[in-house]
């Protein structure tokens, strides 16, 4: 049996140092709900595992001075669900994160892991994209920030440079009249992988949509920010024509594949259906009468 080195640094600097020093032979361990499965299947054979759960910044949830949230990349779904305020401000992001795996998996699985794993079907990512989350990333060359939608570059691939570690997600403050939601299509009711996932965040003023963002998952090599769908919604009262235009934008943004989880035709159709349903939930949360 191959030996594996396990490190659990207390500081981010130590973690970055060890990660960079391993020169690609190391893997970051947050919840481990993807990594350990990959190791068991023989897909991943890391020489070193760097557990980031001992680092305070990676496992804390903070309400920032401007009214936003900063969520450590290794915070588990269950811990986030127990936060007294997060779920009331960002119910869509929370429901997306809480769809990862089973109840047991929720005790470990994190939004950071979900994003870094790089699945186009990752449930939390479309919701984070819709929320306008900004990532904090730290590496050998220091810190940088990046809009979440720019993070994935292909299935299983992301824009982290060698030695870089995802630190946290920053979510902006919410104007009054805002709401978000995430819906996914799965054949079962749980324990499944999204065939299509849609995240929507929007703001209403007197019934008119003043801001919107739409994230679309499982229909392309990466999760997409669908700007055209948002454009179709902004300035409208979310009437049927606006919804249909936004749905059409989602369908147009799809570049899906036929695979064991769904067909191209099916995914395209369903992206439009889910867009309309997700907007309805987000609008209700935003306080639409």
């Amino acid at each position: 049996m191959t030996d594996i080195r396990y490190l659990a640094p207390q500081t981010l600097d130590e973690a970055v140092g060890a990660f960079a020093a391993a020169q690609g032979a190391a893997r970051i361990l947050a919840g481990g709900t993807d990594l350990l499965v990959q190791m068991r299947n023989g897909v991943a054979r890391p020489g070193t595992i760097i557990d980031i759960k001992k680092i305070a910044e990676l496992t804390s949830i903070e309400e920032t001075a401007d009214g936003g949230f900063r969520i450590g990349a290794a915070v588990s779904g269950a811990v986030l669900a127990e936060h007294p305020r997060f779920g009331t401000v960002w119910p869509g992001v929370l429901e997306a994160i809480n769809l990862i795996g089973s109840t047991q998996v929720q005790g470990r699985a994190s939004p950071g892991g979900n994003l870094c794993h790089g699945s186009p079907a990752a449930d939390s990512v479309p919701a984070m994209v819709a929320a306008g989350a900004v990532l904090t990333i730290q590496g050998p060359n220091g810190r940088r920030t990046l809009p979440v939608e720019q993070f994935p570059v292909g299935p299983g691939r992301n824009s982290l440079a060698p030695g870089e570690i995802l630190v946290s997600f920053s979510l902006p403050a919410r104007p009054k009249g805002s709401g978000d939601a995430y819906l996914r299509m799965i054949p079962r009711t749980e324990m499944d992988i999204a065939v299509v996932g849609v995240g929507v965040s929007l703001t209403l003023e007197n019934g008119v949509c003043t801001a919107a963002r739409v994230g679309l998952g499982a229909v392309a090599p990466t999760v997409k920010l669908v700007a055209d769908a948002a454009t179709a919604l902004v300035g409208t009262k979310l009437d049927d024509a606006a919804l249909e235009a936004a749905a059409a934008a989602c369908r147009a943004a799809c570049k899906p594949i036929d695979d064991k989880r769904g067909t191209i035709e099916y995914r395209i159709k369903v992206s439009g259906v889910l867009l309309k349903r997700t907007v309805a939930i987000a609008a209700e949360r935003a306080g639409r009468a």
Binding site: M1, M185, P187, R188, V195, K260, T263, Y266, K269, V273
Partner: protein
Amino acid sequence: MNAIDNKWIGQRTIRPDGVDKVTGRAGYAADNTMPGMIWGHVLRSPHAHAVIRGINTAKAEALPGVKAVVTAQDIVNFPLDKSVMLGIQDMRWMCRNVMAREKALFHGQPVAAVAAISEEIAAAACALIEVDYEVLPHVIEIEDAIKPDAPILHDFLKFEGKSSNIAGTMVNKVGDIEAGFAQADLVIERSYDTRPVHQGYIEPHACTVSCTADGKVTIWSSSQGQFMVRAMTSLLTGIPQSNIRAIPAEIGGGFGAKTIIYLEPVAVMLSKKSGRPVKMVMSRDEVFRATGPAPGMKATVKIGMKKDGTIVAGHGVFYLQAGGLPGSPLRGPVGCSFAPYNIANVLSEGFDVVSNRPKVAAYRAPGAPLGAFAVETVIDELCEKLGLDPLEVRIKNHARPGDKAVYGATFGSITFVETTEAMLNHPHYKAPLDKAPAPHIRRGRGVASGFWYNAGGESSAQVNITEDGNVTVTTGHPDVGGSRASTANVTAELLGIDHSRISVLIGDTASIGFSNLTGGSRVTFASAMVVTQSTEKVIGQLKERAARIWKIDPEAVDWDNGEARPAGANAGKFPPLTLKELAAKANEMGGPIGAGIQLNTVGADPGFATHIVDVEVDTQLGIVRVIRYTACQDAGRSLHPSYVEGQIQGGVVQGIGWALSEEFLYDKTGKMDNASFLDYRMPVCSDLPMIEAVALEIPNPKHPQGVRGVGEAGILPGLAAIANAVHDAVGKRFSSLPLSPPKVLAVLDA
């Protein structure tokens, strides 16, 4: 015995295996370890179809830590030209299924195996085995396998004089179907296809085998029959049955697929060669790629009906997937599909088709759900077009006691009509259903019925009175459906003692007489029969002992409420003797008290089921959800009602998975693409409503408690009932399973 006021029979007593299972102490096969034990690992074919030109194991054998390597050379060869049967299994196919010989016939078929001091070394050694393959074109689907230019799996298989992938046929016939169709007011013919499905037991196959220097073999394994394990291992290794002791582990589900073996003969040969105990445990991936499944089907069914609902003729043509080796369960669809009905003219034909998939194994009423799907949907469409109630039509045509079934038997005291009438009168059937609760939601209701043979067969039991006056009962078949709990209830009832004083155990092949495997809905029926007879013998012994103590005639002793009593005033006046008192005096009064019975049980009447289901269809997403389900079977007598309900509910849920979401998917290279529970979609709890199980109790007159087998019939109607309900909801007929969302949406949008 059939009185409803029985004290123990019919009670929901605490299951004997319950505490061990919920505390994690139950001894499953994979839990077993032994001193000096090593690990076996199987090298599996990476090709769907290939000639094996040679296998070089030298590098694997040279790897430090490797103790033994086996290939097909170590397994007994059964030549292709001569059938050797064990029950329904042909050893020609079994020997090749446990280890490929001339050819690899499916991706994942075992090609060699290694035993080493760790799992990792055994796996690493497998990777060092060099197999010289000549890769051949492969074929997966039935329609491709029966094309004239299809790749042929077995040159020796001939159909109509030519090499073919059709490995066998079966025909049941009664009357003249052409004459029958001529009498019909409406004839409907439809074609169907379904995908293979896996039995999906939670526990992967596992065994530990110890082969000692004097040639004695002990096997601990998970199976549906320790005697099957012994017999099949004996045939495949050449070791006599008397030298093999098969010990049944607690079983984590089988559903039919553990009525054959995969690992045991391989582990025996690894243990024999290495001189060490060998443990083998399959991964889920191996379970999906190389065990089970149930076959997929292509079928055409034509049925003729008169305006009054009389079915005048039925013709079914069923092609089943056997997998890489022959032997699909043709008697399921061929014999069962039309059996619920008294139809004057039936022709039912089956074709066994080999293709490059794992060899199929039994799955709950093998093959029969497929035939029921086709026939019961055609009947539904006939009823719809003739404006008839589908349950009334089933009742009108029901097979009666004394009718001759299309498969040849004459029915005994069957109760199909009672089962169906119970559903016709059930509140569910009359309950209003809001068919359009939201713009994109449609609801519908469907019904269907089904038939399964059920079985009796060989069983043994030993009932012993312990020295302290309690009871042990030993039977010979693994308990998958509550046979221990049920037989404990029977024994307590007969002896008139508290249930807690009885322990029920499953014996190994050396400690209990031959017992056929757990399958065919037979075990509760047969166990109760042999346990009843054994217990009655014990009661006879107890009365004899009391008579000897009282110095009266044994005929003058009654056994009542756990005590021997003088039968009446003439017998004499003696205080009763309890079981404990008699046990304490056992040795001075003639020796230990106990009795065993070995029987080939008969009198198992067939099982019938009728189901009602409500579904909800999301017409924008194509998702079908089951929102209400009621399933009826006649249990004859529910020895332990929770287990009867559990069997019915389990069958229903497996039918729902079959209908809606389960299927094997293959990539272009003939490799299964969804070999995990994530992508092989069995229903999860949140997908299901509570399944209402309605168990009738119309006693089987040929059984001491009136038991009828209930294990299998519950899976039969679901496929058709759901398809019929979806039709009721959306107005479209579906002929291809599963009703996966992309498939449903494509039909809705067409």
